[in-house]
């Protein structure tokens, strides 16, 4: 799949316009969910690229999203009084990406020397240490986390759209930029180098590629994407709390990657939608059952995790290319049954 930059830009801008228009069809709560999907999509797309192209499995992307969240708060504080109110979120998002990238650089430097399971273990330790870190550093606000001032819809638009729709717009714009950048990098020379390193580090090194450097670059890129996602979440929720960025979120991001098909950016959208919407749908379903409070509390969250776990196992066993892979394969086999069309699709 070789995509030239012009095509990527067209696709992203076109997709963004359609998505922005689509928000008019949704009620405020669904727009809020859409913003959440977009935020998760940033992180899942970055993680998908990392795993799919360089074979580095990070279980620490929740921590990178948290870094983005804290970065966002710092950026907004930085801009307070210095830049116009309307630009503060932009500054916040920039600082979010930078913060996550720096953390990602540190992790990536450590990770470049480690293979799959070791990197996974180290990054898992990072996520688990996050609450300890925030409780030790007073500036991070402890378990309560940090808040940012509530941001309403800009004056010019306030008669036209609701707050949630505005948030969805920002989230969609960010995710479009993130996806565009990721796709461009993937389609370019860096993408080829990453694949070369994943397939055979020694051979890649002989071909003049520096595997360590490529892996670190990929990790930083992926961290930046996660940071953007964390920044968006912080923008939507007007704050960041460490409890939201635990192991569970990290594992959910992996689920999103696998569901969409590892290394497939378009698939990541399916993964993100599932990760955000399934718990909501299950919640709707169980609340309709009229269960006693205790039972409802136990099912809440756990049922979704159960489904995700089964999905993760089932997909890994049966469909390594993910849901999107299943669809394209179904399409391909339909094509194949028509004898005159040669099969050229690869990967």
């Amino acid at each position: 799949m070789n995509q030239n930059p012009r095509r990527i830009v067209l696709l992203t801008v076109g997709g963004l316009v359609v998505a922005l228009a689509g928000t008019f069809l949704l009620d405020p709560y669904r727009n809020y969910l859409l913003a959440l999907v977009a935020a998760h999509l940033c992180a899942i797309a970055g993680l998908s690229l990392l795993i799919g192209r360089t074979g580095q499995l990070s279980l620490g992307h929740a921590a990178l999203m948290a870094a983005g969240g804290y970065g966002y708060v710092a950026g907004v504080k930085l801009g307070d009084g210095a830049v116009p109110d309307g630009l503060q979120p932009v500054l916040g998002l920039i600082v979010a990406v930078v913060t996550a990238s720096v953390v990602g650089l540190l992790l990536g430097l450590a990770g470049a020397r480690l293979h799959g399971p070791y990197l996974a273990g180290l990054t898992l330790a990072v996520v688990l240490a996050l609450p300890a870190l925030t409780s030790q550093i007073p500036a991070l606000g402890g378990d309560q986390g940090l808040m940012v001032p509530f941001r309403s819809v800009p004056q010019a638009l306030s008669s036209l759209i609701a707050l949630e729709q505005w948030q969805a717009w920002i989230a969609l714009t960010v995710v479009a930029v993130v996806l565009g950048v990721l796709a461009t990098v993937d389609a370019g020379a860096s993408g080829i180098r990453m694949r070369a390193v994943r397939d055979d580090e020694v051979a890649a090194a002989l071909a003049g590629i520096r595997p360590g450097r490529i892996k670190v670059q990929a990790f930083v890129l992926s961290a930046a994407a996660a940071g953007a996602g964390g920044g968006v979440l912080c923008f939507v929720d007007s704050g960041v709390r460490p409890g939201g960025y635990g192991v569970t979120l990290s594992l959910l991001l992996v689920v999103g990657v696998v569901v969409g098909g590892t290394g497939r950016l378009a698939g990541a959208a399916i993964g993100a939608a599932l990760v955000v919407l399934l718990p909501w749908l299950i919640g709707l379903g169980t609340s309709g059952l009229d269960l006693p409070a205790e039972a409802a509390q136990r099912l809440d969250g756990n049922l979704a995790v159960l489904v995700f776990g089964l999905l993760l196992i089932g997909l890994t066993v049966a469909a390594p290319t993910g849901a999107l892979g299943l669809l394209t394969r179904a399409g391909a086999s339909r094509k194949r049954s028509a004898p005159s069309i040669p099969t050229t699709s690869k990967d």
Binding site: G121, P131, A132, V305, L306, L310
Partner: protein
């Protein structure tokens, strides 16, 4: 000084359990070259069932036996049902993560999110030696079990032909098959053994710092992972020494800086070892290919 001695003693008692649990990671690594990210969740699940049996029968020992049996059965089921599908280390980790999610969700649904108290068969008050509180009878029991088990496993691998076949099957599966070793059965056996040891370790750990809730396995896994990495995943002796090291570290950090800081200590140690001596402090014959 008294406090230091006390923390040291507690650290050793905790470390023994870490070591035992890390041993279960080493066992699976040795038999399948997989790091079992589901080890802790499996052990925690077995412990829930064990405590349920203890509640029913009133006997701690009945629970202990159930923990081992259920642990072993889970090992068998997860290896046969899930991990067989692992094509490479990456998919192995992902399958294990799926298993973690399923087990944690199930225990959460069936037992609720709250932490569950666990009984102890002996007093867990530290014995006062010369005015200094040291180990409790329960700690001594834990240490005795761990030492016996470690020695038993060592004998199994170093001295018996079964152990030799298990090692051979792990190092060179295809060659081992040519030599008549039933490789698939050795793998399953490795998982059963490891999961049973893991369940026992967690049952021993529960009355201490750990406590039992559906997510109790997460920090335990990270500590044990650190232990296994410090000791070198191939080395049972390394796991024991690494376990003591991590146990004492966690105990001292908790005692002097507060429990909340402990994960940071483990993370720092893990990062240090992975970066400075990635093959583990007690690397065996073959340098780890990191």
């Amino acid at each position: 000084m008294d406090r230091f001695v006390f923390l040291l003693a507690t650290g050793i008692a905790d470390g023994v359990v870490f070591a035992l649990f890390a041993l279960s990671l080493v066992l699976i690594w040795r038999s399948t070259r997989i790091i079992n990210f589901a080890a802790a969740a499996m052990a925690v699940t077995a412990c829930y069932l064990a405590l349920a049996v203890t509640d029913l029968t009133g006997s701690y020992w009945a629970g202990l036996i159930i923990a081992v049996l259920v642990g072993g059965t889970l090992g068998w089921a997860v290896e046969r049902g899930v991990m067989r599908a692992a094509r490479d280390p990456l998919s192995g980790v992902i399958l294990a993560i799926g298993t973690v999610m399923v087990l944690q969700a199930l225990t959460g649904i069936l037992a609720g999110p709250q932490s569950r108290p666990a009984p102890v068969p002996f007093g867990d008050r530290p014995v006062i030696v010369g005015g200094v509180p040291t180990l409790s009878p329960y700690d001594l029991f834990v240490i005795a079990v761990a030492v016996t088990l470690t020695a038993g496993l060592h004998t199994l691998f170093a001295r018996t032909s079964l152990g030799l076949q298990m090692r051979a099957a792990a190092f060179a599966p295809e060659m081992s098959r040519l030599l008549g070793v039933p490789v698939a059965r050795m793998r399953t056996l490795g998982w059963i053994l490891a999961a049973a040891v893991g369940a026992l370790a967690v049952l021993l750990a529960v009355p201490g710092e750990l406590g039992l809730d559906p997510h109790a396995g997460d920090p335990l896994f990270v500590s044990a992972f650190a232990v296994a990495v410090i000791g070198g995943l191939d080395s049972a002796e390394g796991a024991v020494i690494g376990g003591l090291l991590v146990g004492v570290l966690v105990s001292l950090v908790t005692g002097y800086l507060g429990a909340a800081v402990a994960p940071l200590g483990v993370l720092a140690l893990l990062a240090l070892v992975l970066l400075v001596r990635p093959a583990g402090l007690f690397a065996g014959v073959e340098a780890r290919r990191v």
